[in-house]
Symmetry: C2
Subunit: 387 residues, 2 copies
């Protein structure tokens, strides 16, 4: 197949980074041919080093109808992901959406339906799935090395953001513009990996969110969620943008031991026999099963956004299986929506959630908002230090 | 002052260990002169290496009225701690109670009142307060090094117990005999240190307990508690006897950084400025306050039970301040009672809890119990591997 012509919609912080990767020829088999953004500031400057001609559009319909592209990368604000993806699929384009898949599962389910009907290649920018440490963790869990899971625990509080970050644009960290805070902007990666590596979706969520606790924003900047799984396992997910230095520690306890990912290491505390078996047969007082502490070797590079984009292009060109199929974006979002709903209702919620109820409650948040952003200074950030 | 004559009530696993320490002259200024236990098996054998004569009693009143003692160490099953302590104070004795202080705060408040009125030295066996790592943690937090606390998180799941442990006696892990499971038997140390090191008691507790999840018992063997503090900080406490290998990791996040106690190390991630100050003044996108990672040197030995007993004797003999005043036993128990109450009511509870309501609910658990212990084999365990 010939080179894939790619367009990018939404040239904010992340979009600029994607344009640079494509424009500098970092994605084999792909070429940047069009961009679209209602704000045209600095676009020419951004594109000056790009090989070949790039069409610049202001209007999304003109972009979708008139540009010469096979595939579109959508990096607009989150609310627009499903709507634009549905339009792109209707035009026969392949789609890669930035995370999160959207703001509410109702629209993401529609996007997934459109993707399926189109038969096009649909990916999502869960670039952390390219991280070999999480790939290895998933492989070990899925192969049964850890045995049945008992408990999961992710403390992911190293998403520190200052007030100036929130002040960098009008839409950010508002119910209307972004649809949420840390759960929608920073933590989607871990919400995805939490279920992707373990293969477990919670069946019940009881969550506690703090809104504007550490920043002058109306959405959440700290959450603690307690979950229960179908098999009886329990879990905790803690995230925050208000702590420095944060923690990124994912612990999974199972019948065959415990795995901990922290500081770029995967440590497997491996029992030499099943704990359930030991429990049933041991006759002493304070004994425990024998345990080996293993520093699991991690091979490969963290290819991040480039890895996901290359994989998406390879999937279009050669049928390579997707690392992050777009349809799976609904899973992390479902957990995220459940966390909000539990916090708003002040009660546990079962999954799958009532998508209509969530949508209705979100509209109430938007309509009842009287929050005014102060000190907004529209700024373009270098995103090389985040993901 | 002359040597303190000590009696020990309750010669189970822990009582035997205390008798051995006292009997072998390990506590300076103290001598073992009497023991009391309704079960007399092996008591003579236990006492054969003890210097001097030790009176052996079967009946608690005979022991309290007739024995030649100045001070009593109470290591009976938990329910009896307050009742026996009140009797001992009435006899003018100094008292050291094993943890937990009791099973419900209503009786512990009565014990504290009796202690205060007696003017005698009242200690509690929170031997982990002798651990220099927690002493140092407390010192750093109380001196303001960490700044205002934002979040606490203790994963204390390395209390593994097998079914054979629970089968070792009739009273263990029953509502009637012990009054609970991991919260009353294993985790009281951490429930104490959680509030002692931080100086913060939760104001609200929302907890999730699993009863007989990993063992054939009627009480809880896994809990997750979410708490909120007066200053807005949040916290998580997770404990279990069903995981191998468990985790013992205590993380405290504050305005000036983060402290983590794990694997016998205290790591202080110390910011060079206040996070709140940084947040208010920084103007960039993804910046964070500068952070130094410091391995805090820990001096001193873990003196454990011996340390608490020596400190109690020194307090009686020389007025040395107590490391673990008995009156403080109610704090950890209050959190423990709140965790049960929240789990039973399936709703958050405020602290201080309704002590009468807790007592009533506990009586319901006892009265409604139809649990029959199977395979009980009364065994004496060597407790040198636990605390």
């Amino acid at each position: 197949m010939s080179v894939i012509k790619v367009g990018v919609m939404g040239i904010g912080n992340m979009g600029r980074s994607h344009v640079q990767l494509l424009g500098k020829g970092k994605i084999n088999g792909a070429i940047l041919t069009a961009v679209c953004d209602p704000f045209q500031d600095n676009l020419k400057e951004l594109l000056k080093d790009t090989a070949g001609d790039v069409q610049i559009f202001k209007d999304e319909d003109a972009f979708l109808n008139e540009s010469d592209i096979d595939a579109v990368l959508i990096s607009t604000p989150h609310y627009d992901h499903p709507r634009l993806a549905v339009k792109a699929f209707a035009k026969g384009m392949h789609v890669l959406v930035e995370k999160p898949a959207g703001v509410y599962t109702k629209s993401v389910a529609e996007m997934n339906k459109a993707a399926k009907e189109s038969g096009k290649v649909f990916g999502i920018m869960y670039n952390q799935r390219c991280n070999p440490i999480y790939q290895k963790l998933r492989e070990l869990i899925q192969s049964g090395e850890l045995g049945e899971i008992k408990r999961t625990n992710w403390i992911i509080t190293d998403w520190y953001r200052s007030q100036s970050y929130y002040d960098s644009s009008e839409w950010r960290a508002t119910w209307k513009g972004e649809g949420g805070g840390v759960l929608l902007n920073q933590a989607p990666h871990q919400l995805d990996l939490w279920q992707w590596t373990t293969g477990l979706m919670p069946k019940k969520v009881h969550a506690f969110c703090s809104y504007g606790k550490y920043h002058d924003i109306e959405v959440e900047d700290e959450i603690t969620a307690y979950v229960e799984y179908e098999n009886g396992a329990t879990g905790i997910f803690i995230t925050s943008t208000g702590e420095a230095p944060g923690t990124n520690r994912f612990e999974i306890s199972g019948d065959r031991g415990k795995m901990v990912v922290e500081n770029d290491k995967l440590i497997f505390h491996r029992l030499t026999q099943s704990e359930r078996e030991f429990n049933a047969t041991y006759k002493g007082g304070f004994g425990k099963p024998e345990c080996w502490t293993i520093d699991i070797p991690i091979k490969g590079e963290r290819t991040d956004h480039q890895g996901i984009m290359q994989n998406w292009i390879d999937s279009i060109a050669k049928g390579t299986p997707l690392l992050a199929p777009g349809e799976e974006g609904i899973k992390g979002l479902e957990i995220s929506n459940a966390i909000y709903l539990s916090s708003w209702l002040k009660e546990p919620v079962e999954l799958p959630i009532d998508a209509e109820l969530f949508y209705k409650k979100l509209q109430e948040k938007i309509n009842q908002s009287s929050f005014q952003k102060k000190n907004v200074e529209k700024v373009i950030f270098d995103v090389s230090e985040t993901h």
